[in-house]
């Protein structure tokens, strides 16, 4: 065979192989409407936390406390990607969309695991990825929306994966990037920017779902002349952090989006004096205009890297003889917050420490402002230790609320303290800007600590802990999901286990070792009458950082967690 002809044959064969490898395009796709997003079918998981209220609760109960012991893998799918896989699989009537680090989206048959199509973001080779992850795709009509670490929002055709539009948000070379799952509200694709360690000014921005045109942008740090700017000194607001890198929740009844914001930057509070609105806060935004309706700041003048980016859950809470339209947020700052959402304000209801902390002396009962112990507040030129560590009582992994038990399930980290020496550091665009040397960050187990990770169940109405399950040799760094089968699913430990607990008692009912560690959010879904549980296993990012920080400090620590993503899907063996 002539060389030219042989090469041509090879190319044609390659093309055919690509076609054969994928089962797509998707033939029967169910368009995603506003009504479906507002009231998703029980078998689907179309939001970050399944529903707009962010509860992380599935009404499916086919898998329950009596049969979960028979849960077994039915299919798996290797993503081919390393680093932290943090996205929940998104389910729309039998179609699963999986987002991975490096900006990939894989469309799969949710029943069989067959691939329909794959989108691969061609990331710039000079990209600096501090948090190389992605937390999922948003859905609207016949499109899928991805936010990328090179700071673009991309719309894909749901049936084929073809790019419909691609909008640059800001410049990745200046430390701007995106890691969250877009929130879709009435044809608007809403995202928030990451980059708090790189001297950025946080924002939330909305795009038209059809065209990618920017509709509004609200900065989380107010500029000159805007309300709240007076809580900053000089020009500190221009680079003050407040990143908004987790998906917000939404109250359709009042048309209000609730978005969590990041810490102030750089870390030591004396580099940015003032309360620093609206960092470490929850913002109430109008999704049509981006206008801020109100806010609540969890703590002022953050100095600990305690962002509060995991949006609070919306729960109708029965407390003291009335129904409170509440916001519930187990904070990175170690306080379990119960707030009341009103049209023009967010009111403090209750708060208590859910892990050991030496930073707070109490909470002002009217304002809800925590009272800081200055001995444990980092400053320039002095090493300061504090509890919990900078990863907080609960980092970004989400808690869940069960509508059956009325309990909140928290992936907490107990007995970790830490510290650093504050330094005044000039900002270089696109480079780390922490206010300390990154390798100076300490992570120290408390003397006598018997465990670290702690899955907790709290009654938000009474402030009483119902139960907890402790992990002696591992952090707990994974989101929690609750189901109507009275089950709590969570990974998050460095032994690579995926576990199910009894929602009422905390009894460990089932566990399965996976390929890597699980940071991502488990989901429940249903196809053709069968309920499935799915989760991505793929260790990395901050779970890996915590683990590296514990080497040599925790005897017997498992420090060899292999990386590499796999989608795991389970069902009950019949």
């Amino acid at each position: 065979m002539a060389l030219k002809q042989w090469l041509l044959s090879g190319l044609l064969a390659s093309t055919c192989l690509v076609s054969i490898a994928a089962a797509g395009p998707i033939e029967n796709y169910s368009p995603v409407t506003a009504e479906r997003l507002k009231n998703p079918e029980p078998g689907n998981w179309m939001h970050y936390r399944r529903t707009y209220d962010g509860q992380g609760y599935s009404p499916l109960d086919q898998i329950n406390t009596s049969n979960v012991k028979n849960l077994t893998p039915v299919w798996t799918f290797s993503t081919g990607v390393i680093e932290g896989h943090e996205a929940p699989p998104i389910i729309n009537n039998g179609v699963m969309f999986v987002a991975t680090p490096s900006g990939q989206v894989i469309a799969l048959n949710a029943k069989t695991g067959d691939e329909y199509w794959r989108y691969k973001r061609q990331l710039p080779e000079d990209l600096f990825q501090l948090h190389p992850t992605n937390r999922g795709v948003g859905l609207w009509q016949d499109k899928v929306y991805l936010a990328t670490t090179d700071d673009h929002v991309v719309a894909l055709e749901a049936k084929t994966g073809k790019v419909v539009w691609d909008t640059k948000v800001q410049d990745y070379k200046k430390g701007q990037y995106l890691t969250l799952m877009p929130l879709v509200v009435d044809g608007k694709v809403i995202v928030g920017g990451s980059g708090g360690e790189l001297g950025v000014r946080g924002y939330v921005v909305a795009y038209d779902a059809e065209t990618g045109k920017e509709l509004w942008r609200t900065f989380t740090i107010p500029g000159t002349g805007e309300p709240g700017n007076e809580t900053w000194s000089g020009d500190d607001w221009k680079t003050g952090g407040g990143s908004a890198w987790m998906t917000g929740n939404y109250d359709p009844d009042t048309k209000t989006v609730y978005w969590g914001t990041g810490n102030a930057a750089p870390w030591p509070g004396d580099t940015h004096s003032g309360d620093n609105l609206y960092t470490s806060s929850v913002l109430a935004l109008d999704p049509d205009s981006g206008k801020m309706k109100t806010y609540f700041q969890y703590h002022q003048n953050d100095s600990w890297d305690w962002d509060e980016v995991d949006a609070p859950m919306l729960v109708d809470l029965q407390k003291d003889g009335r129904t409170i339209k509440s916001l519930i947020h187990p904070g990175r700052n170690a306080i379990f917050w119960v707030l009341e959402r009103k049209p023009d304000s967010i009111k403090y209801v209750a708060g208590w420490p859910f892990v050991h902390t030496d930073v707070w002396k109490g909470i002002e009962p009217e304002s809800g402002k925590p009272i800081v112990d200055p001995a444990h507040k980092p400053v320039i030129g002095k090493r300061v230790e504090f509890c919990p560590s900078l990863w907080g009582g609960k980092d970004w992994p989400s808690a869940a609320y069960s509508q059956k038990t009325g309990l909140v399930y928290v992936p907490a980290n107990e007995n970790f303290c830490g510290g650093f020496t504050g330094e005044k550091v000039p900002l270089v665009a696109g480079q780390l800007w922490l206010g300390t040397k990154p390798e100076d960050i300490g992570l120290t187990p408390r003397p006598g600590a018997t465990h670290f990770g702690e899955l907790q169940a709290w009654d938000p109405a009474t402030g009483k802990k119902a139960w907890s399950h402790n992990f002696p040799k591992s952090q707990l760094f994974g989101s929690v999901t609750a189901t109507a089968g009275d089950l709590i699913f969570v990974g998050g430990t460095n032994d690579r286990m995926f576990r199910a607990f009894h929602a009422k008692t905390g009894e460990l009912l089932w566990e399965q070792k996976t390929n890597s560690g699980i940071m991502a959010m488990p989901i429940a879904y249903e196809v053709d009458g069968t309920q499935y549980i799915a989760v991505q296993s793929g260790w990395g990012v901050d779970a890996q950082r915590i683990q590296d920080g514990l080497v040599g400090k925790v005897p017997g620590l498992e420090n060899n967690v292999p990386q590499g993503g796999v989608v795991w899907v389970f069902a009950v063996k019949k």
């Binding site: 081919g80 990607v81 390393i82 680093e83 991975t100 680090p101 490096s102 990939q104 691969k120 990331l123 080779e125 000079d126 990209l127 600096f128 990825q129 501090l130 190389p132 090493r383 020496t421 330094e423 550091v425 000039p426 900002l427 270089v428 665009a429 480079q431 780390l432 040397k437 990154p438 390798e439 100076d440 300490g442 990395g540 990012v541 890996q544 950082r545 590296d548 080497v551 040599g552 990386q563």
Partner: protein, 195 residues
């Protein structure tokens, strides 16, 4: 916490001179000069990329044996263009005891001076720390983003953390003059791409 003086020196150098990097990077016209985006080439000299000597040619005697490393740009000696148009061109330069270097590393060294890409091959963060290795008493390169560590004595092979491969080496001419590039990078510069 007591700080290792060499680690502190590198970090302070990196941080304190960041403004110089920023100011030089703000010169768009300079970055657009022909060749500023091209990878280091044979016969390029190395210049300090930061600090009070930013832009000056580096000589072996400017470096202290045992580190800390300095960050450097390649410079075309014929056109005087500094190749700082891409962050992928920046290198770490460190002077070590030649007896500590393995054979492959020694073959790329100028005396005990070795040069490697500053870009961690894991996710593309810059390597900023010179610290005791997690598993030994040797000072090594560390990328603090995700804790990858590389030993410059052994072709910058990975000795800890998630990085999948060694840092690309930049071979140097084995003489005592200004540090001069002997060949292009050995290996692909920058982060790995998934699939």
């Amino acid at each position: 916490m007591c700080q290792d003086p060499t680690r502190r020196a590198l970090i302070l150098t990196v941080l304190a001179t960041g403004a110089c990097v920023a100011s030089s990077r703000s010169s768009v016209a300079e970055e657009d000069l022909p060749g500023s985006n091209e990878r280091p080439q044979k016969a390029d000299v190395l210049v300090f990329s930061e600090g009070e000597h930013a832009g000056e040619v580096i000589k072996p005697q400017d470096l202290k044996v045992g580190g800390p490393p300095v960050r450097a740009w390649p410079k075309d000696p014929r056109t005087s263009v500094i190749r700082k148009g891409s962050r992928l061109n920046e290198v770490l330069v460190v002077k070590l005891d030649p007896a500590e270097l393995d054979e492959e590393t020694r073959s790329r060294a100028a005396g005990g001076v070795v040069a490697y890409s500053v870009i961690c091959v894991h996710t593309g963060c810059p390597i900023t720390a010179w610290v005791k290795a997690a598993n030994s008493d040797k000072d090594v390169f560390k990328c603090v983003c995700h804790n990858s560590e590389y030993d410059p004595r052994q072709s910058a092979q990975v000795i800890f953390g998630p990085a999948p491969r060694r840092l690309p080496a930049l071979p140097l001419e084995p003489d005592d003059g200004p540090l001069t590039v002997a060949a292009t990078f050995v290996g692909k510069v920058g982060a790995q791409q998934a699939r």
